[in-house]
Amino acid sequence: MRAYQDLREFLSVLEQQRQLLRITETVNLEPDLAAAACALTQIGETSPAIHFGNIAGYTNAQVVMNVHGSWPNHALALGMDRDAPLRDQFFEFVRRYRQYPGELERVARAPWQEVVVDKDVNLFDLLPLFRINRGDGGYFLDKACVVSRDPDDWDNDNIENVGVYRLQVKGRNRIGIQTVPQHDIAIHLTHAEERGEDLPVAIALGNEPIITLAGATPMLYDQLEYKMAAVMQGKPYRVVKTAKGLDVPWGSEYVLEGRVLGGQREPEGPFGEFPGYYSGCHKYPVIEIDRVSHRKDPIYDATYVGRPWTELDWLQAMTTSVPIFVQLSTTFPEVVAVNALYTHGLVIIVATKTRFGGFAKAVGMGVLTTPHGLGYAKIVIVVDADVDPFDLKQVMWAMSVKVNPAGDIIILPNLSENLLDPACQPGGMVSKMIIDATTPIAPDIRGDYGQELDTPQGTDTWRHKLGALMKDLHK
């Protein structure tokens, strides 16, 4: 466990661990930055972060990408050993998640207050914006934390929200924001608009790695991301209040302050999104920015989004799997692990003990009623407790032999879904499927499941012994 005070400290650790590439040759904002970050995702699951320090047209701009984009980087973000296996990262994330809530450390000053622009704000001048995908409707901030409070309960810290939402820079001080109805900021905005008010927001860009993970986590409405980040890093989370009363990370590189304009919607998009498709254009809410603050020589942090897997899939890996697991296990303590790694949990694999026939199907329906399940979780595969849901070879074995489609597939028509899922019909609605890939048990007597194969005695001992010998072979 480790608390990084800011993005710079984390980048220096990545560099020490040989998980940061510095590109010193001159690069163009388009298409070089997105192309390099895309190439990193194609290289494999241990790719480094990438830092661009020599960008055409600038004397000192810095852009980093792929900061969370590999299992080693994800492990280091959590302060774990860089080689920590995926399963260990899941259970460590669960252990910390269950310690919620941690504390906030409020301080008066932050490095991001070093440079302040509050007149003639021009975001195109202040930020090294660039296009990610060729069909994007403009330049987007796609890894910033947006902070808001509920106008109906302004001083309640627990319902303050920190979320990572896509933001399109549309004018000098004008930003479009995607607030999916399932997300907490949409509730804040609804309350502001019912009151006939604007919604104050602060946009924090270039953060240490934990708050970005917390901001991408579908937590409960009354859980505050800073209090989750505190337990994730094992130390109170340091924040600074803006003049409007919004808490912003102490370590941010840039902070943009403004207001979502009540009752206004404007064309936004398209943007290449997490399902691997462009989002199309919609009329979305609009933010007017009044003030931009930043550190000296700020570092701009961005994510390449393409056909999975990309950095986004690491950002949404444990942050999706763990809350579903924790929320599901309050009703079903029999659940042993949840894998929601695929496309932000559009497909979810749950491993569970079963108490009686039909139990696994009830667990599958439970997944659909978690907060994340309401907008994702289109296909739920339920496997037995002795099947590792993170090992797709084991999951496919379970599907191969334990599923009889006649009784193990349930399709539930017309459920709510994130409108970015291209399978929706109409947008925001989709049918969902539960696949019961557990062994039928009484009174479900279908199939002819006799004795399952196990391993020869002593296999575990031999695995340890041979593993050590094989390590020697490669020395």
Binding site: E30, P31, T59, G135, P181, H282, P285
Partner: protein, 89 residues
Amino acid sequence: MSQAMESAPPVVCPRCRSTTTEVRSTSPVKGVWTVFGCATCFYAWRSTEPEENRNPDNYPAVFRLKPEDLANLPVAPSIPPRRPPTGSS
């Protein structure tokens, strides 16, 4: 004039062909690039981007927009009705 040195906004937006084009920004190192934007469809592009992002004739048909269609885009989230003033029945 080379594409990198373009400084006046093009006559029409590459995406929606409106004439509401504006200069949004120029490179801090002079003459390297200019960013343009469209005040109608909010498209933004840089003078140094590939041709398909700058030139209306090369802009991919699948991403083109018509200004008259913008008003009919789906709205999300919907705008809620205002609450009645406190004290009203």
